[in-house]
Amino acid sequence: MKQLARKYQPYIWIAVFIMATIASFSLGFDPGKTVFTNFRVSLVEMLSFLPFLFIIVGLFDVWVPKEKIQKHIGQESGIKGIALVVLLAMLQAGPLYGAFPIAYILYKKGISARNLFIYLGAFSSMKIPMLGIEIGYLGIDFTLVRTLISLPLFIAIGFLMERFMKGKHFEVFDPGNKAAAKTVQ
C-alpha cells in the first residue's frame, strides 16, 4: 500500500488538477476556467519546442561522449584546459548539487583548483539542455547576453578561488566515503 502510494504520489497533483478543472467547467466556476486557460497556453508553449530540444540533446549526447573530454582535463592547463572544462560542464544535466560528486571525481583525477571552480560555474549556468529551454522561454537575446556576461565572470571566480586557496591545503571530500578519501590523502 505504502509502495503503491509512493509510486503514484507524483501524479496526485495532475489528478487533482484534472478533477478540479472538470468540476469547474461543469459547475461554471470561472476562476477554475481561467486557471485552465493559463495552463493550456503554457502547455502548448512548452510542447512547441521541448520535444525538439531533447532530440537535439539526445543526439549530442550520443555523438560527443563525455569520457573523451574528461580524459584531457587533468594534464592540460591554460586556455585549452579551461575550454575543455567548460565544454564538459555544458554536456551535463541536472541541478548544481549533482555537480559535487563529479567535482570529487575530477579532483581525484588531478584537476586544478582553478578549473574545478570554472567547471562548477559552467555547470551552474551553461548546461546545454538548460540553455535550450532558456532560449525557448526567455528568447535568444536574453540567453546570449546572460551567457556571454557569465562566462568571463565565472572564469574570473576560478582564478580568484585559486588565489584564495594558495598555500592553504585544499581537497574535495566524498561524504559518502570520508574515511577512504582521507587515506588517499
Binding site: W13, I56, P95
Partner: protein, 160 residues
C-alpha cells in the same frame, strides 16, 4: 514564441538528418536518450505549469509590477537576489516562472538577477556543498557567485 519553435524544429530536423546519414543506429540511440530525458522532465514540468497557472490567477499583474517592475528599483532587485539565492528551484522549472514575470511587467534586470542567483548561489544546498568542499571554500564560492550574479543581473538590465 512561435519563432523559437521554428528554430528548434528546423535545427532538430537538420541535426537528425545529418546524424541519420552518418550512422543510423547512433541516431536511434540518440532519440532514445532524448526521449528518456524528456520523459523524466515531463511530470515535474506539468506540475510547475499547474502551479504557475494558479499563481498567475492569484497574483495580480499590478502586484508583480509594483514589487518587481521597472519602477521597483533597488527593492525589486533585492527581493529577486535574496529569493533566488535561497530557494531551490530547478533551472528548467524556473524558466516558465521567469517568462511569466517578464510578461507581467518585471524588468530584465530583476529577472536576470533572479535567474542567476538561482543558478549560481545555493543557500539550501550549502550544507551539502560544505561536505564536499569544506566550510571555508564553500562559503567563499557562494559569496563570489552572489556578487557575480548581481553584476550579471545589472548588466542584463543595462543591455536589454
Amino acid at each position: 514564441m512561435s519563432n523559437n519553435a521554428i528554430i528548434f524544429v528546423s535545427v532538430a530536423a537538420v541535426v537528425s538528418l545529418v546524424s541519420f546519414l552518418m550512422d543510423r543506429d547512433k541516431t536511434i540511440l540518440g532519440f532514445k536518450r532524448g526521449w528518456q530525458m524528456f520523459r523524466k522532465l515531463l511530470l515535474p514540468f506539468l506540475n510547475i505549469l499547474i502551479i504557475v497557472s494558479i499563481a498567475l490567477y492569484l497574483i495580480s499583474p499590478d502586484t508583480i509590477e509594483k514589487y518587481l517592475g521597472g519602477d521597483s528599483g533597488a527593492v525589486g532587485f533585492l527581493i529577486a537576489a535574496v529569493v533566488g539565492s535561497i530557494t531551490l528551484i530547478p533551472a528548467f522549472i524556473s524558466y516558465p516562472i521567469a517568462a511569466g514575470l517578464l510578461q507581467q511587467g518585471a524588468s530584465y534586470a530583476v529577472v536576470g538577477t533572479f535567474m542567476t542567483t538561482l543558478m549560481m548561489v545555493g543557500v539550501v544546498t550549502l550544507p551539502l556543498e560544505i561536505q564536499y568542499l569544506g566550510r571555508r571554500v564553500a562559503i567563499t564560492r557562494n559569496a563570489f557567485n552572489f556578487v557575480a550574479a548581481i553584476i550579471i543581473g545589472l548588466a542584463i538590465g543595462v543591455i536589454l
